[in-house]
Amino acid sequence: PHFIIYLPKSQKNICFNIDSEPGKILNLVSDPESGIVINGQLVGAKKPNNGKLSTYFGKLGFYFQSEDVKIEISTEAITLSGGSSTFALSWSDTAQVMNQRVQISVKKAKVVTITLDKEMSFSVLLHRVWKKHPINVDFLGIYVPPTNKFSPNAHGLIGQFMQEPKIHIFNERPGKDPEKPEASMEVKGQKLIVTRGLQKDYRTDLVFGTDVTCWFVHNSGKGFIDGHYKDYFVPQLYSFLKWP
């Protein structure tokens, strides 16, 4: 999966990507205080491409502890479990389901929007590929808009950036690839080499996406994320992250 982290104060996009094993579950947001957890389970491409197996989010789990609501979104179905009831919709529906303070709205084969308390919302986009494609598989994208509803202790690959880290990018220079300038970035007491790159935002154009330039952090975001990406593996789709 590819990450774009927008830092509103410094007006910068920082990006990185992580490739791991299919089946692994990465924690994206973990906030025990507000009782919110978001995890993503990886799915692998049908086969390696150029010797490398790409992985994507094939399933996302949202858990709103205080509402006792769990939402599982896969590339096939959207399942809401609340209390004693479960409710499943498919990506072929256009529907809304409201369970007290949690609302899920499905736009057929496009986007699921989860709204908590009419204030906090998350979007999950479905990327359908050609079923017979030799390599590609369907996958999901998740978008978490800036909000101050999380507690200061929120963490996770995305959650940790709810508290914006200070960054300083300087010494922009030509990179090894003339089309990709490099620069130095100081963040969290580290000095990283970052590369000017392109990512895609698919919210307005689900097929081609919108180009987003960003400073790319290498080695699976090392230095920009706390710890190592493997620290963010969790055992279950609704597990909170146990941060050392």
Partner: protein, 648 residues
């Protein structure tokens, strides 16, 4: 004898030879149209009476009948009853009769015609009827009653099932005690299936040397459609739409259920025994989160408990012991029994003891009319209506033919439920259990179907108090294709503690090429299903009409629709006449109890098709803040067509 094409020689002794018995039945999206045709020859040197006797499902509408006797063809037309009778009186057919009679079976009617033919005469009969398939306990059941009456040189039954939604499974159970094992041939695709049943003369014989036919029973086709993809299926075609709704990946809603059981003297014997047996199984099926009680009544009203009790194992065991001890005797006081049940549920509701997300049901089982207390049926109906709260659905099971079924139907339809007739015999228990299983799993409440566009008209009942797992809600209507290129529907409902808004958009030509590809598909199925549903609901509404004027108005629209759609209903007759018009037969529908959609589980109500509940705001525009846009976007250097995303 006649040399048959297949080279088999019929017995000398046959007076009348059944040359061919053919049944063709097509189900297009729950709408079933069936044709039964038989060709006979009078082999004897004497005139013979030839009978064409067909059983059709109760609630099916006959749409056509024709008979050819030695080249003279009699055709049918649909007339208003009195008109039909007058025509028949003018020119009665000689030596020919036809008629629809109520059969002793619960869910069938007999269409029977008899004609006296000369030696050597050849006669062909052909009957067409249509019906809607209601989903019950997770499947649709299509029954074809085969009664050729004798060995048929050519016996062919073909059933085509065409379901745009896709066929999840299709099965032909053995209903001939193994006699025709392997004879039905099934071929099944994604959306279409074909069942062929063509036994040879030898296979038809009850035994190798017997002359009687074993083909005397029903061929049953069971199937269900795929519904994992979508919760609702909206099909539009030819200016009509039909909407099927049967989500099943939901958790059951808790229910508060009261069983009100007639234990009067007339229930003595097999009826009571079977009812007790059924109740024991039913109570075992209750879920922990359900609440229940049992009321048994004759001239007196007793209760197992005077309030709702949680269906724990111990309580269920106790209720079962209570039921086992019941001894039927005495009169029947329906009024008091129902008012007691209503009081218990109302009281619990008023005291806030009911789970706000639960549904409340009363199931009345009775085999006779009131003999004690309030005897006037209309008064009882009024009492119930005035006392029952609108969160309670009343279901009535009328056992046998002594009970005023029409009364039970009005009673239930008026209170968000339906009535069903059951036999009081050896399989009463299985019928009671089968009915209970249809309402045992409430999944949704307050299901409402909305079609906001103004060009949508004539929508059938679109507001339903409950939706039960294993069943299906069907709504139909009209729209103006010139004004719409896609039809939008919004279904709202609540389950446990969740509210659902389901939007569906159907394109005008979604079905076009699908239907055009299959010569068996009925391109008229949407109109037929709409007409069938509308007429049946009007028949039920007619019996609940509050004034004579309202009743007359409904009667007029039923009659007009029956004539427009060319079907035999309780208000029309089938007039069968020869070309010259000097010989006529008359087939009247039997005084059928005007039930809505025999077999349907729902009797809903109508709300304006664009009255969407205030809590539902369809087509939400997701709040997406354009996060990434915040950063200045440098001119992208690679040409835009290159989708290059950075990787490590």
């Amino acid at each position: 004898s006649l040399p048959g094409e297949s080279g088999e020689i019929m017995e000398e002794a046959d007076q009348v030879t059944l040359y061919s018995y053919k049944v063709q039945s097509t189900i297009t999206s729950r709408m079933a149209t069936t044709m039964i045709q038989s060709k006979v020859v009078n082999n004897s040197p004497q005139p013979q009476n030839v009978v064409f006797d067909v059983q059709i499902p109760k609630g099916a509408f006959i749409s056509n009948f024709s008979m050819t006797v030695d080249g003279t063809t009699f055709r049918s037309s649909i007339k208003e009853k009195t008109v039909g009778r007058a025509l028949y009186a003018q020119a009665r057919a000689k030596g020919k009769t036809a008629g629809l009679v109520r059969s002793r079976a619960l869910d069938m009617e007999n269409f029977r015609t008899e004609v006296n033919v000369l030696p050597g005469a050849k006669v062909q009969f052909e009957l067409h009827y249509q019906e809607v398939k209601w989903r019950k306990l997770g499947s649709y059941e299509h029954r074809i009653y085969l009664q050729p009456g004798r060995l048929a040189k050519h016996l062919e039954v073909d059933v085509w099932v065409i379901e745009p939604q896709g066929i999840r499974f299709l099965h032909v159970p053995d209903t001939f005690e193994g006699h025709f094992d392997g004879v039905p041939v099934i071929s099944k695709g994604q959306q279409k299936a074909h069942v062929s049943f063509k036994p040879t003369v030898a296979q038809q014989r009850i035994c190798p040397s017997c002359r009687e036919t074993a083909v005397d029973g029903e061929l049953v086709v069971l199937y269900d459609v795929k519904r994992e993809e979508k919760a609702g299926e909206l099909e539009v075609f030819n200016g009509y739409f039909v909407h099927f709704f049967a989500p099943d990946n939901l958790d059951p809603i808790p229910k508060n259920i009261l069983f009100v059981i007639d234990v009067s003297g007339s229930m003595w014997g097999v009826k009571m025994k079977q009812t007790v047996e059924a109740m024991k199984t039913i109570l075992d099926d209750l879920r922990e989160e359900d609440h229940f009680s049992v009321i048994d009544f004759n001239q007196n009203v007793r209760t197992w408990r005077n309030d709702l009790i949680s269906a724990t194992k111990t309580q269920v065991a106790d209720a079962k012991r209570y039921i086992e001890k019941i001894q039927p005797s005495g009169g029947t006081n329906i009024n008091e029994a129902l008012l007691r049940a209503i009081f218990i549920l109302n009281e619990a509701n008023n005291l806030g003891l009911l789970d706000p997300n639960s549904v409340s049901l009363i199931i009345l089982v009775s085999d006779g009319d009131p003999t004690v207390g309030e005897l006037k049926l209309s008064k009882i109906q009024k009492n119930v209506k005035e006392n029952i709260q609108d969160n309670i659905s009343l279901f009535s099971l009328g056992m046998g033919f002594d009970v005023d079924y029409d009364f039970l139907k009005r009673l239930s339809n008026e209170n968000r439920g339906i009535a069903q007739r059951i036999y009081g015999n050896q399989d009463t228990s299985s019928q009671l259990k089968k009915f209970y299983n249809q309402v045992s799993t409430p999944l949704l409440r307050n299901v409402q179907f909305n079609y906001p566009h103004t060009s949508v008209t004539d929508v059938t009942q679109n507001n339903f108090h409950n939706y039960f797992g294993g069943s299906e809600i069907v709504v139909a209507g009209k729209f103006d294709p010139a004004k719409l290129d896609q039809l939008e529907s919004i279904i709202t409902a609540t389950s446990a503690n969740t509210q659902l808004v389901l939007e569906t958009l159907a394109q005008m030509d979604d079905l076009q090429d699908f239907l055009s590809k299959d010569k068996h598909a009925d391109p008229d199925f949407t109109r037929k299903l709409w007409a069938y549903l509308t007429i049946n609901q009007l028949l039920a509404e007619r019996s609940l009409a509050p004034t004579a004027a309202a009743k007359r108005r409904i009667t007029r629209s039923i009659l007009q629709m029956s004539l427009d759609h060319h079907i035999v209903t309780p208000l029309t007759s089938l007039v069968i006449e020869n070309e010259a018009g000097d010989e006529r037969m008359l087939a009247d529908a039997p005084p059928q109890d005007p039930s809505c959609c025999s077999g349907a589980l729902y009797y809903g109500s109508k709300v304006a098709p664009d009255s969407i509940p205030s809590w539902a705001n369809p087509s939400p525009t997701p709040v997406i803040s354009m996060l990434a846009q915040g950063a200045q976007v440098l001119e992208s250097t690679p040409p835009p067509h290159v989708m290059r995303v950075e990787n490590d």
